[in-house]
Amino acid sequence: MNFSVVPKDHGNPYRVTNHALTMLVMLMFSSLAAVAQNAAQAGNAAAPFSVRATHFLGFEGTKNNCNGTLSLQDDSLQFQQNGKPAAKIRIDSVRNIFLGGESKQVGGLPMTLGKAAVPFGGGRAVSLFSHKKYDTVTLEYVDSDAGVHGAIFQMSKGQGEVLKTQLAARGVGVSPAGEGPTKQSAAEATNANQ
């Protein structure tokens, strides 16, 4: 019956000061951590970055439709197929980067043949679930003779935005025209989901 809700040292001024000090120290630490994080992010702009990607077409010195690693190192953007020499371009030659998205069927030809072999059209039902969304990154760059090149890469969803941010941090212009295709791709993805 003798429960006390209010602490007994309620009026103790030293206790209140201790609490305030603790809060202040915690606030200082958190703000320091935030500053350090910002500095680290700024430093990351020059740090190497790599992502697994599929090269569709256009990147000079690379076969179409091949898998590899797309990376940003120093002042170059390079694509390296597994066990083959990397093809690279200078980052400052990239004029525009556009981000889009696409929904694709997974499994390639073997899966397509497998689905065709399922009786009573069962393969079609499989197709409903066997698709995956990808990010499509389109780069526009110029060569030493000022000729315009375009390259298309496909990567896991979310990775395209990271690459775009990394390239923007390195001074590549992200064109406002990139908004159009994104809208378009969104409509495309909606169609795919229906």
Binding site: R124, L128, P181, N193
Partner: protein
């Protein structure tokens, strides 16, 4: 008994192979092509070509499609061996070339399909592209003009439409030709 069956099987396979060799089926694109009214190229002078970036017109077409059409066009035009050199848009070297033609591509129709829809229904979800392809001189004089289609109806990704389109444009350009000295009258066809 088994030997007879084997013989019969081999015989029927051989018959099918012989028929296939004797009457090769035309490719769909070949069958659908309309012969251009272009003159045959009798001159020995080879022109060089500059492929301009794709003009999306009033349509909201994905940038990846525009780039894919442009890159596929460069590849396909180079494959035709009809031109001495194929230059990219903006290439400085093109300004020094004496006989230069410019290939301009404007998108007229575009319906974005869906690979999943195609896989599920077969009949819907086709990606369709129609472009107006114009071959001009450096001064802007129109030599050849075609409306060309590129579609993906059944299998493959949406971007395959751009490859089919570029191949069809290259086919049309290969069929039509132009004399070295004076440009012919306007040639127009619909693929």
């Amino acid at each position: 008994m088994q030997t007879n069956r084997q013989r019969l099987l081999i015989l029927s396979l051989a018959t099918v192979a012989a028929i296939a060799l004797a009457f090769p089926a035309p490719l769909p694109a070949q069958a659908g092509a309309v012969k251009s009214s272009g003159t045959s190229n009798g001159s020995g002078t080879k022109w060089s070509l500059q492929v301009d970036k794709v003009n999306p017109g009033d349509l909201e077409i994905a940038q990846s499609f525009q780039v894919a059409i442009y890159e596929n066009l460069l590849q396909e035009m180079d494959k035709t061996t009809q031109f001495q050199q194929v230059f990219r848009d903006g290439d400085r070297r093109a300004s020094d070339v004496p006989n230069l033609l410019v290939l301009k591509t404007t998108v007229e129709k575009y319906s974005p399909g869906s690979e999943t829809k195609r896989a599920v229904t077969t009949v819907s979800g086709a990606t369709k592209l129609t472009v107006r392809s114009q071959l001009c001189t450096r001064e802007g004089k129109l030599l050849v003009e075609h409306a060309v289609n590129g579609n993906v109806r059944f299998f493959g990704s949406n971007l395959r439409a751009t490859h089919n389109l570029a191949r069809n444009i290259a086919k049309e350009m290969k069929k039509s030709s132009w004399p070295a000295e004076q440009p012919p009258a306007l040639l127009t066809s619909q693929l």
